[in-house]
């Protein structure tokens, strides 16, 4: 069976490499930013250049106007390694300090840049998907079903069009952050607490330090781990408070140690004296560790940018259209608070459910693998739900943030295959306006077709046919859900058709981005409701467990 494993991995990489031949964000400065050349591709290349050549203290200070480093430390370290490789493999010209700006048009260098993404993808995201699905497969497999189903599920999860388009087309390293997060979920759900807490929290700290966006998962993971700290454990003689304290201390210690290891250079070293700083007079404010740390944090979380960024498929953008104009009705200084409150409200179901599940998790007398799978499944639902809460209601949301909801959802294929496939299409569809700016329309169509072919042609096995519900079951909710999915797919297609046919009226230049934003928001709300639905069932069953004992 090794051959089919190789086939799946190679095919997933093959599609990534095909997409890698397309335009990257800001190629030829097409729709480039006004302040600097290009887009995310040039930014990442620039970070390789600056981390490779400058002393570590300068990294978060060097020429902040031209793609200044604004990702957390782990990204910076990865850039450093990639910069070294770029100089050695492709040539010093690709990362020469200052002189390499706008370095573009060299196919070898582009292939190198693409390779840094797919290598990290294959090393981190692929195995995470593989092992998580393997655990879930234990829960779901039937005697008659073959390993092929498992491998097909892996292949489909690795062919998610939106992830491929953003990472390997647009150019980002999301799969590293997502992969590290998935790895942390894999460990956190493990029934043995100390294994789960140490490895899981190390991985989650790494994810946070690679991309701050993974904070979207933090509430759920925190709630679940808190639940695990206070888990009912009838067999044990240790009082609950003592167990809780011990576990909490272990968790906190792991997180703090991981963070300190990644952050200490930036706390100890500031910029060199001869480095010209954009913010004059800020040098005096760099005397203490705290001040240096605050600066890095301000780079990573630029709170001053405001609530709205572009036209995203979230509540704020959808509610900001003509009749409602929410931006004008809420005072500017209340807006962040409103966002905070709304996010808090939307993420509550997932946090409460996962807390309860965490508390109940060690009480079940089941085989360890089944326990692992059950909790992992709940965590995936919870992370999807919580990421949607942030995507819909928090501030400074980017189109690409929907990947955070998609990645865990894409692994729930044996829970709800309809939701899983539908999510893949929705996530890709909401990115359309962004992909147009990147000139990735053709890859958008192609990857969607490849994905659709994979899910329709490969899955012919009875197991998934039974999960795909039919209206005859009398299961009202499920049936309505399926109809809604089909209707929404039709609506997405209609919007595409309209965009092609209808000319944009001059007084409504943003017509289609706004329509996309409203439609996407509605679909995301629907998806959020779906996750809440299944979290309710899972949470309820977690509550019932103790009474049965």
């Amino acid at each position: 069976m090794v051959s089919l494993h190789v086939l799946v991995v190679s095919l997933a990489l093959f599609v990534r490499i095909l997409v890698g031949y397309q335009h990257h964000s800001g190629e030829d400065n097409y729709h480039g930013s006004k302040r600097a050349y290009g887009g995310d591709y040039e930014a990442q290349r620039h970070w390789m250049e600056l981390t490779w050549h400058l002393p570590i203290g300068d990294w978060y200070w060097y020429d902040l106007q031209y793609w200044g480093l604004d990702y957390p430390p782990l990204t910076a370290y990865v850039s450093y390694v990639c910069g070294a490789l770029s100089e050695w493999l492709v040539g010093p010209g690709t990362v020469a300090l200052f002189k390499s700006r706008r370095y573009e048009g060299d196919p070898t260098h582009k292939a190198f840049m693409r390779a840094t993404v797919w290598v990290l993808d294959a090393l981190i995201y692929f195995p995470a998907v593989f092992f998580i699905l393997k655990v879930l497969w234990q829960l779901k497999r039937q005697e008659s079903s073959s390993t092929n189903e498992f491998l097909i599920a892996v292949l489909v999860a690795l062919l998610q069009p939106s992830i491929i388009l953003i990472d390997h087309g647009h150019f980002q390293y999301n799969t590293v952050a997502l992969g590290l997060s998935l790895w942390s979920l894999f460990f956190i759900a493990h029934p043995s607490f100390f294994l789960s807490c140490i490895y899981g929290s190390v991985f989650f700290s790494l994810a946070l330090n690679f991309k701050q966006m993974t904070l979207y998962y933090a509430p759920v993971i925190f709630a679940y781990l808190l639940g695990r700290c206070l888990a009912f454990n009838n067999g044990s003689k240790i009082p609950l408070w003592q167990q809780g304290l011990e576990r909490f201390a272990a968790l906190g210690g792991t997180v703090i140690i991981t963070f300190v290891q990644l952050w200490w250079p930036f706390l100890l070293y500031g910029p060199r004296d001869n480095l010209s700083l954009v913010e004059d007079g800020s040098r005096n404010a760099l005397r203490t560790m705290l001040q240096r740390g605050t600066h890095v944090l301000r780079r990573i979380f630029p709170l001053e940018r405001g609530l709205f960024e572009g036209k995203v498929s979230n509540l704020w953008c959808a509610l900001d259209t003509k009749p409602i104009n929410i931006r004008d009705r809420i005072p500017a200084d209340v807006q962040p608070l409103a966002a905070l409150a709304a996010t808090f409200l939307l993420m509550m179901p997932s946090c409460i459910a996962l807390f309860l599940i965490g508390r109940a998790s060690e009480q079940r007398k089941e085989a360890a693998t089944r326990q692992h799978a059950a909790d992992l499944k709940s965590l995936l639902w919870g992370c999807t739900s919580c990421a949607f809460a942030f995507f819909l209601a928090s501030f400074q949301v980017h189109e690409k943030s929907i990947l955070l909801a998609l990645a865990p959802a894409s692994l729930l294929v044996w829970e709800d295959v309809v939701f899983c496939d539908w999510m893949a299409v929705v996530a890709t569809w909401t990115m359309w306006p962004l992909l147009v700016v990147d000139r990735l329309q053709l890859p958008y169509v192609c990857t969607l077709i490849i994905f659709a072919t994979a899910i329709t042609q490969l899955r012919t096995t009875p197991l998934l046919q039974t999960i795909t519900m039919k209206p005859t079951d009398g299961d009202w909710v499920a049936w309505c859900w399926k109809i809604l999915c089909q209707l929404s797919l039709a609506a997405m297609l209609v919007l595409h058709a309209l965009e092609m046919v209808v000319p944009v009226p001059s007084h409504l230049p943003d017509l289609f981005p706004v329509l996309w934003s409203i439609g996407g928001c509605a679909l995301c709300c629907l998806a959020w409701l779906r996750t809440v639905g299944s979290l309710l069932t899972e949470g309820r069953s977690a509550l019932q467990k103790p009474k049965n004992d």
Partner: protein, 535 residues
């Protein structure tokens, strides 16, 4: 259990599935449009320009006043294909007012100034992608020409069909490097497929005639499109002569199981068969050449440029690669240099090497109505021309390894067990031999992962459930894996600057390494073919 053990869910794949697969794979090819393209792109672009703008009389003379080397050097039917591409309503529509395709794309341009526009590349690439329909058709005809109980399925498709249409060799050559091999292979495979269909016990008298005519016409058409297939001519001649012209049509009632097949039946010429077949073949061969009858010498110098030398720039992994290698080594050791091999010697050696294939393969296959021998003979003939041909291109190995797939992808056949391994080895080495064709580092990952995916699929289909002792299998495969790993490392992973003055080393190692392996496979195929007849 692997999916090969699951019987076909439906007896034949639905057209929906087939279309879905075609569209999805076409999407992959579309995504390859921005990748590397060789000068063959300029060649075909120039041929489109020639057929669009020049009268037919000038096609084989024009060289844009000496400013291009991309002159027409394929036989006439291929030129007609280019004519069709450059003069049809769709192209006219695209080029109308420069709206979708620039007029310059199809103009006669000097080599110094022929950079195509993006639309031009998309137009050309699209014609290749669409012409692959022919490949799918041909592969389908051949894959379904065996009796249904013999076909090995992968999901709902015959394994040989999938392994052909997803062949990475064709993907690299056609959709990256730029050529139209898929279409030509479609015609070739369909022709072989029609030959095979007649050997099914269920074939009727009508099918006996029509299928043989179809096969002959398709092959003749193929010859007038690409003369590389000429070396398969003797095989077709011998087979059709014995199978069609010296044999009666099948009886109305199929012979009962017990009666031995043509036992002691005297060979008898059926003149009517011979005449009809010759007429069909002759017409197909002749008609495309009619407009050029007065310029045959010019046409022939274009088709057979013998001035080019025994080996290509990059040595194809054949006998002459080893010969040149020995020559080089002798030269370094100040020994005597080996004599030059003229084209005539090449041709003679090639003809000699074809002979066993003609008797043990083609003749015996026709005599015994044996499809296995038929395909073996075709593979063997193609392999001979790769091994001994003059100025052979590395891609010619596909002529052997693609038909070979149809020989080994069958069920419950212990006779072909050793051939499965052979097919796996030849595919691995043959594809590796094509690696240098896409030389840019930017295509490295593409080559590696399509190679890995395809070899994994081959392993799954051919080797995984093979009836062979583990030890024997290890002996067959471990050296192969070692050679492939070393060559891939030399060729792809070591940066070229580290070789310094020895920058030819990775190419040399690849062609010599693959040549040794493929020559061993060639000999084993010959022995197997002879052994099958003897045993």
């Amino acid at each position: 259990m692997p999916s090969t053990s699951i019987p076909a869910l439906k007896d034949t794949p639905s057209w929906v599935s087939m279309t879905a697969l075609f569209v999805a794979f076409s999407c992959c090819k579309i995504l390859l449009m921005p990748s590397y393209r060789s000068t063959d792109f300029d060649v075909h672009r120039n041929w489109l320009a020639i057929t669009r703008h020049l009268p037919i009389k000038e096609w084989y003379y024009d060289d844009v006043n000496g400013t291009t080397v991309h002159t027409l050097d394929y036989p006439p039917s291929f030129a007609y294909w280019e004519y069709l591409l450059s003069n049809n309503p769709v192209t006219q529509y695209l080029i109308h007012d420069d709206a979708l395709l620039d007029e310059r794309c199809l103009q006669l341009l000097p080599d110094s100034d022929n950079t195509p526009s993006e639309a031009c590349v998309i137009f050309h690439r699209s014609t290749v992608i669409l012409s692959d329909i022919m490949l799918w058709w041909g592969a389908w005809v051949m894959a379904t020409s065996s009796s249904p109980s013999q076909i090995l399925f992968l999901g709902q498709f015959p394994a040989s069909f999938l392994l052909t249409v997803f062949h990475p060799g064709l993907l690299w050559l056609d959709h990256v490097h730029f050529q139209y091999n898929g279409m030509l292979f479609g015609i070739f495979l369909a022709s072989l497929g029609y030959l095979m269909k007649v050997n099914n016990s269920s074939s009727t008298e009508r099918e006996f005639h029509v299928h043989h005519w179809k096969a002959a016409v398709l092959f003749a058409l193929l010859l007038t499109m690409k003369h590389l297939f000429l070396t398969l001519g003797p095989f077709y001649f011998v087979y059709l002569l014995r199978r069609y012209c010296l044999e009666p049509p099948p009886p109305k009632q199929p012979p009962s199981q017990n009666s031995p097949l043509n036992s002691a039946k005297p060979i008898q010429l059926y003149p009517l068969h011979l005449i009809t077949l010759s007429m069909y073949t002759g017409t197909t061969l002749l008609v495309p050449f009619l407009p050029f009858l007065r310029q045959m010498p010019q046409l022939l110098t274009r088709l057979f440029p013998f001035g080019r030398g025994l080996v290509h720039d990059y040595w194809a992994a054949n006998v002459w690669a080893l010969y040149s290698f020995v020559d080089k080594v002798l030269g370094l050791a100040h020994g005597p240099s080996l004599p030059d091999v003229p084209a005539s010697v090449c041709a003679l050696l090639l003809l000699l090497s074809l002979l066993p294939g003609l008797y043990f393969g083609a003749w015996k296959a026709a005599e015994e109505h044996d499809n296995k021998k038929l395909v073996t003979a075709a593979v063997y003939s193609a392999l001979c021309s790769f091994m001994l041909g003059f100025h052979v291109h590395e891609k010619a190995i596909l002529n052997a390894i693609i038909p070979l797939l149809f020989l080994v992808c069958n069920k419950n056949d212990n006779n072909t067990t050793s051939l499965r391994v052979l097919c796996f080895q030849m595919t691995a080495l043959g594809l590796l031999g094509i690696f240098p064709l896409l030389f840019r580092p930017a295509e490295m990952a593409l080559k590696l992962f399509s190679y890995a995916a395809y070899m994994a699929l081959c392993y799954h289909v051919l080797i995984e459930r093979i009836n062979m002792s583990r030890q024997r299998l290890m002996m067959e495969l471990l050296p192969l894996v070692a050679v492939v790993m070393v060559l891939v490392a030399l060729l792809e992973f070591v940066p070229i600057r580290l070789y310094g003055k020895l920058e030819f080393l990775p190419l040399l190692c690849t062609s010599v390494g693959c040549a040794v392996g493929l020559i061993l496979c060639w000999i084993r195929l010959l022995l197997w073919m002879v052994g099958m007849t003897a045993g």
